[in-house]
Symmetry: C2
Subunit: 307 residues, 2 copies
Amino acid sequence: MTILIIFNQADAEEFRNHLIALSGCPDVRIWPNVGDPSDIECVILWKQDEGLLGQFPNLKLIASYGAGVENILYDTSIPDGVPVTRFVDDTLSDQMAEFVLAAILNHRLHITHYRELQAASHWRPGYFLKGKKVTILGMGELGNCTATLLTTNGYKVSGWSRTEKNIVNVKSYFGDDQLNISLKDADYVICLLPLTPATTHILNSDLFKTMKTGAYLINVGRGDHLNEDDLLDALYKEQISGALLDVFSTEPLPDDHPFWRHPKIHITPHISSPTDKVQVAIQILENYKRMKAGQSLINQVDPKRSY
Amino acid sequence: MTILIIFNQADAEEFRNHLIALSGCPDVRIWPNVGDPSDIECVILWKQDEGLLGQFPNLKLIASYGAGVENILYDTSIPDGVPVTRFVDDTLSDQMAEFVLAAILNHRLHITHYRELQAASHWRPGYFLKGKKVTILGMGELGNCTATLLTTNGYKVSGWSRTEKNIVNVKSYFGDDQLNISLKDADYVICLLPLTPATTHILNSDLFKTMKTGAYLINVGRGDHLNEDDLLDALYKEQISGALLDVFSTEPLPDDHPFWRHPKIHITPHISSPTDKVQVAIQILENYKRMKAGQSLINQVDPKRSY
């Protein structure tokens, strides 16, 4: 068994140690030290250069290190019939749900705002914002778990997704036709969509115009869901009141990016669902074993839907 | 029926309008324009000068504008037998619970911290803090409601109070003997005690030394629960990691107070349980009616316990 890890060096070394400790198999290589390409049966990756995956004639499993696979599937060199899997775990969903609740509470109760006033010794009490209507775009595992936590905390939640969902106390909107209506009453719009050609730049001027004036955007999906210029424009025109962004088209966000100093944009450095490396390793090794035994895999991706 | 309102002028005018609108009775006076002191049957107040309450020979009801009565009961001129009531409502409890959850999430997920890093374009992702053990000092309406919300959100909650409490999933500690043991495992210590001679400066060096190293303090009780110098000392010695303070001995917090610029102290301007003026007016007018009819009052204070 030979595994190739393709991602940045510091993370890769730590992850390799977990894989070796859990599997007892020492042959875990780190890109670009591939050795003989025909040894490689499994690659674990987050994103790769176009054409790379076509170089391994004995490849049997392509495992994403994260929940998303948009950085992988675009590669036309992926050999036909090689399964692609992604990482799904409840911890990730729980953390995401908690992050979204924290972001909403922080905005409604002005917690960070008071810390900013504090720097100038300003004592300016205000009331909690009353608006508790939330629309979640994307109702997969993360969206579902987030919706459930928010309803438990007294929020009125709607979800929008490709197909209809049936979740207790969550109004389901689905399909392109219902996107606008799902948004129009929301005080908070949360993006938890998978990134696909259809959802790239879905957070754009049209969407901001549809949102309720003064609503707040939280993007915890992917950076490319957002049209950055359109957000700046919508904030300038006060169509929406602000945004918390955890994901960006380029990460880390470049030093000279206008988002850094924007008073209405709260930046968090992609921390909404930190990956538990041990859990990733366990799940990938389980799939490797299943693949060897000819069994069906867990969390296999349908390339047609991109998730 | 003549009511006297004793508090700062701006608030008093607005509150008087609510009282007149709800009662249909126009004779609501605002201190210091008392007129004939023998007219006054009901005073509504937050705090008053010593001796003031003895000036009204026909006083029949003393109503606190808030949940606390510590600013009222110290007055030795309160005529014997005149009932003192306080304001209690579920909205207040819900808001307090929400505020405490927001404060904990903000600390565990570093939401405000990232906003501070943002000012310097710093991208420094970190993990959520795992510690979810909370001890609430004071298990009255507010403590009870807060404990329930936190347990719903997956926190392990203990409560400390004068007498034993029986709340689902909340470990009850009680009496002076059990204060220390209630604190020692907590990642978060929340003060929601009533202010009495026994609880004044209860948040002091002894308590900070008992807390787990690195624990976080949230004071949403009263400013005088906290010994301010002891907090600065405990933060300097890194016995505790930080504090969110919503209440202060002097409010607004004076401009030159060292808390304003302290990196480990997060100040909010007494917003954890904003009073709904209309609800206060409704509750006080109900008690006024009951008093006139010789019925028992709602939320009457036992002066011996001070709450």
